[in-house]
């Protein structure tokens, strides 16, 4: 098992190097430089050169890359050309918001999607099965921002049940040692704040989690149907085990294998969905941060954001591969 993890980690190195080159090349190719962004379109040649020198943009391209890569390894993403604050500092403030949102969304998707898909498969072609099939197809046809807007309209505008923007009521004060607001509220021992954080999290998480929910339910259903007709399930039934044991130990454990892979594949979708969801709910996460950076040509921030997203995708896929190996002995013992 340890060897497997080590091997997977080693395979990451070229991917990360490739990614950093790609991101670096991309950012350099963007039209208009940071100098223009800082100084405006009518900047003089001299002031542009001065800024470029200050930012190291006058060096040969591979020198720039090596410097950049070296800084990256040390966790130095440079400074935002607008706020002049280190990108890492801003990222540390922002990323817990996105991770909290994404985690809540995937939790919702998994907790609802797996049972739904499983029950649908067990009642193959029953009413519940057919309904959930149609519903999931409609679900994956919704653009996430539209779903978010509909929910906002119903639950915030019309019914007034849930707050429509932000992570916490602005009148409430809460220390933010971790910037994971749920954790912060627990650390502060503030029950009312915790409830408020959950209320703010609920709608964005459900909006963001709905498409993954539909996909997970479909995959669980398909995988379970496959497993149901496997010989070893018949063997288990022939042993006289109870239905609960057969379902849990013999069916679910096998049908979860493809589901785990799919959950990993959802990470990218979830993160890009987060950009849109954050926009709808004015959620102060990495998504809205990057959008600002795009509009302001803030290279360093855009770069930091892209690297962070790509890194997250890579890490989650690593975790998924490891848990897959954990669930599937045929991989583990290779």
């Amino acid at each position: 098992m340890l060897r497997y993890v080590a091997k997977r980690l080693l395979l990451l190195v070229p991917v990360l190097i490739g990614l950093s080159i790609l991101v670096f090349a991309y950012v350099r190719a963007l039209p208009g430089g940071p100098a223009i962004a800082l100084l405006g379109e009518r900047a003089t040649q001299e002031s542009v050169e001065a800024i470029n020198r200050e930012l190291g943009l006058d060096q040969p391209i591979f020198v720039q890359y090596l410097r950049y890569a070296g800084n990256l390894i040390q966790g130095d993403f440079g400074s935002s050309v607008l706020s002049r604050r280190p990108v890492v500092e801003e990222l540390l403030e922002r990323f817990p918001a996105t991770v909290e949102l994404g985690f809540a969304a995937i939790l919702f998707a998994v907790l609802a999607g797996i049972p739904l898909g499983f029950v649908a498969a067990k009642r193959y072609q029953g009413v519940l099965d057919n309904t959930s099939l149609v519903a999931s197809l409609i679900g994956i046809s919704f653009p996430v921002f539209f779903l978010a807007l509909i929910m906002k309209y119903i639950f915030a505008v019309r019914l007034g049940w849930l707050p429509s923007i932000g992570r916490l009521d602005i009148t409430r004060s809460l220390e933010h040692p971790t910037n994971f607001y749920l954790l912060d509220a627990i650390i502060a021992g503030d029950g009312a704040a915790f409830v408020d954080v959950v209320a703010h999290l609920l709608m964005p998480a459900i909006a963001l989690g709905t498409i993954p929910l539909a996909i997970i339910a479909r995959i669980t259903r398909a995988a379970t149907l496959d497993v149901l007709s496997e010989d070893y399930v018949r063997t288990a039934r022939a042993k006289g085990l109870t239905t609960a044991v057969i379902d849990r130990r013999h069916i679910l454990k096998n049908s979860l294998l493809p589901v785990v892979t799919v959950i990993g594949l959802q990470t990218g979708l979830l993160l890009t969905g987060a950009i849109l969801t954050e926009t709808v709910f004015a959620w102060p996460g990495v998504g809205t941060w990057m959008l600002n950076a795009i509009n302001n040509r803030d290279y360093a921030v855009l770069q930091g954001g892209i690297v962070f997203f790509a890194f997250l995708v890579v890490v989650v896929n690593l975790l998924v591969d490891i848990s897959y190996a954990f669930l599937n002995p045929r991989i583990r013992y290779q």
């Binding site: 653009p143 921002f145 807007l149 509909i150 309209y153 855009l302």
Partner: protein, 298 residues
């Protein structure tokens, strides 16, 4: 399949038939395929005959400028927007854009992906290694993020947007085609063709490609659904086509998102137009997938 089922299916004698006619028969039997095809036909008619069907032009002001534009009425079934334009007419014209984006971007992604996949699968070795590692790299960047990045880089012209969205689908098609070529390459009929001296390129175009095409069609249909969602998403983020007059659904929706409270119709009608057009492709793609690979029917 269990023994008992195998026995049962052996007992039920079925007419032998070809792969394609078999798939076609399954598509026709699937109600989802009919609903999807019907919806798609509806949108295609809207797009092609927009000037005939739409009561007004997409830019035509039929009402007055209003901070809170009137909602649906008998005269304007989908209401008016803040510039007094008929929402229904704008949505009908919008179908042109969404379908165009769907088809063109997938065509771009498909052709680039197929070429790369064919080269990779056919030549193998180092060429394959380089291409596939690059595809893996692209796949590790979430597709929509890649589209955002490319649009930022290339600018917000309609073609640039379609190109950007198309690029995000390249790795999927490349992998798909490469995978099926690798599988086919070892198939008996290809070995047989090779043993009688069929030249390489002919082997690829006449024997291998036609047999790899089915999953590509399925994927293309589903990719069109994603393309329509993505262009709407880009528009929503303010990265949509920069021509202010274009009645693109996502852009229309985004421009009015702030009016949600008082003029929800300006958000809901374009939003549902996106949902139904995407649903059309999803239904169709799903039905095709089931038809081609009955094992996935699940």
């Amino acid at each position: 399949m269990s023994i008992a089922e195998a026995e049962a299916s052996q007992l039920a004698v079925e007419q032998p038939s070809g792969l394609w006619s078999d798939a076609w028969r399954r598509v026709r039997r699937n109600p989802a395929a009919w609903v999807g095809a019907g919806l798609l036909l509806f949108f295609v008619i809207c797009a092609v005959f927009a000037p005939v069907i739409a009561p007004y032009g997409p830019q035509e002001s039929v009402g007055s400028l209003a901070a809170v534009p009137p909602g649906p009425s008998a005269e304007y079934p989908f209401g008016l927007d803040e510039q007094g334009r008929d929402v229904l007419s704008r949505i009908i014209y919008g179908a042109r854009l969404s379908l165009l984006v769907g088809v063109v971007s997938v065509a771009i992604g498909l052709s680039l992906g197929m070429v790369l996949g064919a080269i990779s699968g056919y030549f193998g070795g180092r060429v394959d290694g380089v291409i596939m590692r690059f595809m893996d790299l692209m796949l590790s960047i979430p597709g929509f993020l890649l589209a955002i990045g490319l649009v930022t880089l290339l600018g917000r012209g309609l073609f640039q947007i379609m190109f950007a969205i198309g690029i995000t689908t390249v790795p999927i098609f490349a992998r798909l085609l490469r995978g099926s070529i690798l599988a086919q390459r070892e198939a008996d009929y290809v070995l047989a063709a090779r043993s009688v001296g069929t030249p390489g390129l002919r082997l690829l175009t006449v024997h291998i490609l036609p047999n790899s095409i089915a999953p590509v069609i399925v994927q293309a249909t589903l990719a069109m659904a994603t393309a329509i969602i993505d262009v709407a998403g880009l528009s929503f983020l303010g990265l949509g086509p920069n021509d202010p007059g274009l009645p693109e659904w996502g852009k229309f929706l985004a421009e009015n998102a702030s009016r949600l409270q008082n003029s929800a119709h300006l958000v809901f009608f374009p939003g549902f137009a996106v949902v139904f057009s995407v649903l059309a492709f999803n239904l169709l793609g799903d039905a095709l997938r089931e038809a081609i690979d009955p094992k996935l029917r699940a």
